[in-house]
Amino acid sequence: MRLPTKEKGLWLVPLAIALLLWEFIAWYVIRDPLILPRFSTVIFSIYILRELVIPDILTSLLHFGIGLALAFSAALPLAIGMGWFRNVFKAIDPIIEILRPIPPLAWIPVAILWIGLTHSAAGFIIFIGAFFPILIDSYTGFRDVPKVLVETGKVLGCIGDKKLIKYVAFPYALPSIATGTRVGMGVGWMCVVAAEMFGVGNYGLGFRLFQDFYFLHQMDYVIAYMLILGLVALCVDRVFRYFVEEKLLKWKKGIVK
């Protein structure tokens, strides 16, 4: 999204007000750092924890990367099948719809038993979270290719499913695949905390949050890590949007916005 220059700093004011309000309420109203630590204390905690923060972020990104890569490479071929071939959709959709409502957290015991306490087990939980949004948005894209584009392809010699998918359906579905991936990334990141809760390693944002800080009742550390969770996700999303929406989907600019 492109904001006019005048509105570029618009988000700064509400953010500053929210932070000031937080600082003020914590200091004068709540007055108990165990319930709500001050914003300045939280920022200071990040400084204190600086030795831990980077390895924790990297470990969490590793889990996230494993999960997302798995989810994307499994969902995309399935989405092509389900979106392009009606019979594949009819055959597979019931299975998908049974598995989809199962919360990723419910898969934790399965992950531990199948994979053990490894990074891959955490990746598996994130995979479950990210897989369905990617699949569903993507197959919708393949399913909704306008008939006139398919027929145009055919009269220009683009004949057969393989060619039609490659030259017509896939480029048409790309924005849907991108949307699905973005939503999947969001859900996947939410699963990071849960995925690291059961101790697959000695690092990770979720691991730290539950294994260290929670037991020690260190609210300022907890909130510091919550902020980091939010900030990392924001960065990942921005990078994704920059590369995908600005570079890959330039042709869509006139349509969305």
Partner: protein
């Protein structure tokens, strides 16, 4: 180039919920090389269906369609088609759209660029070749579609109300341009329209169809010399003749149960 299209006893029925619907009944038609033939008829008379059969996007229930001595069995770039709806691939620039058929054919980058540029020049869109479809007006989109259909050097150009969704003034300009292109490329053109004015302005010959079941009522040659004047006496007389014929068909269709 002398390409000849022949339709022999072509019949098409559709299976609808209310049973079988006869869309085309016993169509016999011969399109001469380099001829500009308009097919005109009331809406629902099957003129689009007829064009789709020739394009190979649908199959006749009986009868045969023969192009240059070979029976039509499916879509192929030897029959270029321009659709009524905007059919440009939105993710491709003007140049890439026009190149599409050549790319599918496996032509090398440089060769296909040369050909595509020639046809873009022909429709007068040289400065827009790097634009995406969303940046073009309706008339420009159809010009690109014409260039794209011509780029694969089809034996015959099929046009399904290509100017139906542009405004009246643009339509007049596009008609003139199409005649110029026709004169220069010496293509055989089969042009479906519901506009009497359009048919009289463009065609060498007009085939009049009636509705339900769709059949050819009459073929009229228009021997008014070109360039034609839209408001001239002869044009108006011919228009009158066509309108009479069409209203006669409409009243017949109303009497039928």
């Amino acid at each position: 180039m002398n390409h000849k299209l022949e339709l022999r006893n072509v019949t098409k029925t559709f299976n609808t919920e209310g049973g079988e619907m006869e869309a085309l009944e016993d169509i016999n038609l011969e399109v001469k090389p380099n001829e500009f033939l308009c097919i005109i008829g009331p809406s629902g008379c099957g003129k689009t269906t007829l064009l789709r059969l020739i394009a190979g996007l649908d199959y006749p229930n009986s009868g045969e369609i023969i192009l240059d001595g070979k029976e039509v069995i499916g879509p192929s770039p030897d029959r270029g088609m321009v659709f009524q709806e905007f059919s440009l691939f939105p993710w491709r620039t003007v140049l890439k759209n026009v190149e599409f058929g050549l790319k599918i054919r496996g032509m090398k980058d440089k060769a296909r660029r040369e050909i595509a540029e020639k046809y873009i020049e022909l429709v007068g869109l040289r400065e827009f070749e790097n634009c995406y479809p969303y940046e073009l007006s309706g008339g420009m989109k159809q010009r690109v579609a014409i260039a794209r259909a011509l780029a694969t050097e089809p034996a015959i150009l099929l046009m399904d109300e290509p100017f139906g969704s542009v405004d009246a003034q643009t339509r007049n300009i596009l008609q003139e341009e199409l005649l110029e292109i026709w004169k220069r490329t010496k293509k055989t053109v089969l042009f479906v329209t519901h506009s009497v004015d359009e048919a009289v302005y463009l065609a060498d010959r007009v085939a009049v169809m009636s509705a339900r079941p769709g059949c050819l009522v009459k073929c009229l040659g228009i021997d008014i010399p070109r360039p034609r004047k839209r408001t001239s006496m002869e044009v108006n007389e011919f228009r009158e003749k066509l309108l009479m014929l069409l209203s006669l068909e409409r009243s017949k269709a109303c009497i039928k149960p």
